[in-house]
């Protein structure tokens, strides 16, 4: 079955995007292998080109880098970080993160739209991280975003898809890949999101804080594949509350 994830004209077999900032660099390779991921984020602020413990040195060949703009507080700073990432050879993909809140780390949707507009015009493949809001998502689409990355729960919380109904609206209304980015703590939650029709999952804390990072990476891969298959298959109908009446309510019609 040819079920590829297309982002900005680039196709991926894997629907699992790995965040890399929270586990040990020497685990990177085995986590990537076990997770079967083809794309991994890279916080530019952690890139120490030519220096010690440089995250770029640990990324295996062939992986698509998704540099993120973490640390940016405004659209302008995000744009500058993205340009710097490109100049360091990280490619055209960029995940926009604009955070103006040090306590909850909530994304600033307004600044994110502004940064998306600028960077899309400069030829970046822009993947913005946002609070799941339909109006914002439409603005992002119109600004040239290649995907929308709504949060599932507060970042790092491992609480799962608390924003489920709002993510569902994005799935229904926005013709771009919808990638749940934060809050997914368990493979079962990733699976559930994929069943709903989310296009891909990004996770970091859930893997970094697990006992065996490589094994949990594999568990996520399987859960995401399983959820995707269920979505494609079309889930069996689940009856809720009252069973249906056995005699039809429309049986009186003559034609």
């Amino acid at each position: 079955m040819n079920d590829m994830l297309m982002i900005g004209g680039v196709s991926f077999c894997s629907r699992f995007i790995l965040g890399s900032g929270k586990f040990s660099l020497e685990d990177t390779k085995k986590v990537i292998e076990n997770a079967g991921v083809e794309m991994a984020t890279l916080a530019l602020r952690r890139a120490n080109v030519g220096g010690e413990e440089n995250i770029l040195d640990y990324m295996p060949e062939g992986i698509t880098l998704l540099p993120n703009t973490s640390g940016a507080r405004t659209a302008e700073e995000a744009v500058r970080i993205a340009r710097l990432a490109r100049s360091l050879g990280c490619g055209d993909f960029v995940k926009i993160e604009v955070i103006h809140d040090s306590k909850y780390l909530m994304p600033d949707n307004y600044e994110t739209v502004k940064a998306t507009e600028t960077l899309a015009k400069e030829g970046f493949i822009v993947m913005p991280y946002v609070y799941p809001d339909l109006v914002t998502a439409r603005a992002l689409r119109d600004a040239g975003a290649a995907a929308v990355m709504p949060l599932g729960a507060p970042i790092g919380s491992n609480k799962g898809l608390l924003t489920r109904d709002f993510v569902q609206i994005l799935i229904d209304e926005i013709d771009l890949p919808i990638i749940v980015d934060a809050g997914i703590g368990r493979p079962s939650q990733a699976c559930e999101a994929m069943e709903m029709g989310v296009d891909a999952i990004m996770a970091n804390t859930a893997i970094a804080t697990a006992g065996d990072v490589a094994l949990v990476a594999k568990a996520f891969r399987l859960a995401i594949e399983s959820g995707r298959a269920a979505y494609l298959a079309g889930l069996g109908r689940v009856l809720e509350q009252n069973a249906e009446a056995s005699s039809p309510l429309t049986g009186f019609l003559e034609e």
């Binding site: 900032g21 929270k22 040990s24 602020r45 120490n48 413990e53 507080r73 500058r80 306590k103």
Partner: protein, 384 residues
């Protein structure tokens, strides 16, 4: 005849006065804080909550919480992992001058102490910076004594400019500045400011700081807020634990930081927990007030109250303590430390402010972090 002391609660001319009532709020709540009223039950109730209120933080700092250190530690470790993963940031301080015009009775730099004074030239600063950069570190904290005459903002600004050429992250730990001075230092390349109130108890502060500009309590208190107004990204808070009542001081510093974060949600918040260690003038102090157990309790209480805040562990503590608190509560550790003036590239030009307990090199600390299964991080900031 005893010289009449100035009013330590009144600003001097040329000191910025900003529109804020944070000090009144902190002092009022600190004075009302009765840590003896908390029981084991109030500590356990706080530990069951998803996020801790100021009242819960007060319980965590109480004597009753000492019996629950293990539970606090378990939760703190999980919170640290949630916000910071297993990353531990490394940095080193660089003292560029130790001239001081203050008479803080507990401090090795105080102006009546017969110590060797020194101030590095720009060439010497560059040599030091280059030597530190060669260890691989990407973050440096520039420190001076509190003396505008010998080490004024412009001198510090020049040093910051140089530091910015060698390091991705530059912070300052100097005397409090006015808003425009912070703006100037920020434009030179430093984005992070540490100012410690020493003690939040105004009477104790008065006794400990009999002369010099540092004597002015409110000017020091509002340093972090002025730094944020001047465009700095992050500010660090702390008290010199053991100088006053450490539970009240720790409570006040936490409250101070949380009020600032509420007013300026983008401000990055950090803490450091120096405690009294042997100084030249320590005879009148009681350095045993805060043992390791109390220090750990304080660090855990902060981690639970503000899980997003950075916590630095000082070289005043022994290696075994430092290695065990990283990942548990601390997220940042200094290495290859010299607390004399200079002393990285060439021999120190001035004496030390205090004795350190962990003289390990950058490589040794980095290996210690890795041995604990954690990731040493050399750079965590990009200045754009």
């Amino acid at each position: 005849m005893e010289r009449k002391k100035t009013d330590h609660m009144a600003y001097l001319p040329d000191m910025d006065v900003i529109d804020s009532d944070m000090m009144e709020q902190v002092l009022r709540q600190m004075n009302d804080y009765d840590y003896e009223q908390y029981t084991s039950a109030s500590v356990q109730a706080a530990l069951r909550k998803d996020s801790l209120s100021v009242e819960d933080f007060a319980a965590m700092l109480s004597p009753a919480a000492e019996a629950h250190l293990e539970e606090m530690a378990r939760r703190a470790r999980a919170e640290t992992a949630r916000f910071f993963g297993n990353s531990i940031t490394m940095f080193t301080p660089l003292y560029i001058a130790n001239y001081c015009e203050n008479h803080c009775v507990y401090c090795g730099f105080n102006c009546f102490n017969k110590i060797k004074r020194g101030k590095l030239t720009m060439e010497e600063i560059e040599t030091e910076l280059r030597t530190i950069a060669a260890t691989g570190l990407q973050e440096v904290l520039i420190l001076t004594g509190e003396c505008r005459g010998a080490s004024g903002p412009e001198y510090i600004g020049h040093a910051v400019r140089l530091a910015n050429q060698y390091f991705s992250t530059v912070g300052i730990e100097i005397y409090p500045l006015n808003v425009e001075e912070y703006r100037y230092i920020q434009s030179c390349g430093a984005d992070f400011v540490s100012v410690y109130q020493e003690t939040y108890d105004t009477d104790r502060y008065d006794e400990m700081h009999p002369m010099g500009t540092k004597r002015i309590y409110p000017y020091r208190f509002y340093a972090q807020e002025r730094a944020i107004l001047g465009g700095m990204r992050g500010v660090a808070f702390g008290a010199l634990l053991g100088l006053g009542n450490f539970r009240k001081d720790a409570y006040a510093a936490g409250l101070h930081a949380s009020l600032l974060q509420k007013k300026y949600p983008h401000a990055e918040i950090a803490f450091s927990f120096p405690r009294l260690r042997p100084y030249i003038n320590n005879a009148k102090n009681n350095p045993n007030d805060v043992g390791e157990r109390q220090l750990l309790q304080t660090m855990l209480a902060y981690r639970l109250f503000m899980p997003f805040a950075g916590i630095t562990i000082s070289t005043r503590e022994r290696a075994g303590f430092r290695d065990n608190v990283i990942g548990l509560a601390a997220t940042k550790i200094s290495a290859g430390v010299s607390v004399g003036v200079g002393g990285h590239g060439e021999e120190a030009k001035g004496d030390e402010q205090f004795d350190i307990s962990d003289p390990r090199s950058v490589d040794d600390v980095r290996s210690a972090i890795a041995r604990r299964g954690m990731q040493p991080v050399f750079t965590d900031y990009v200045r754009v």
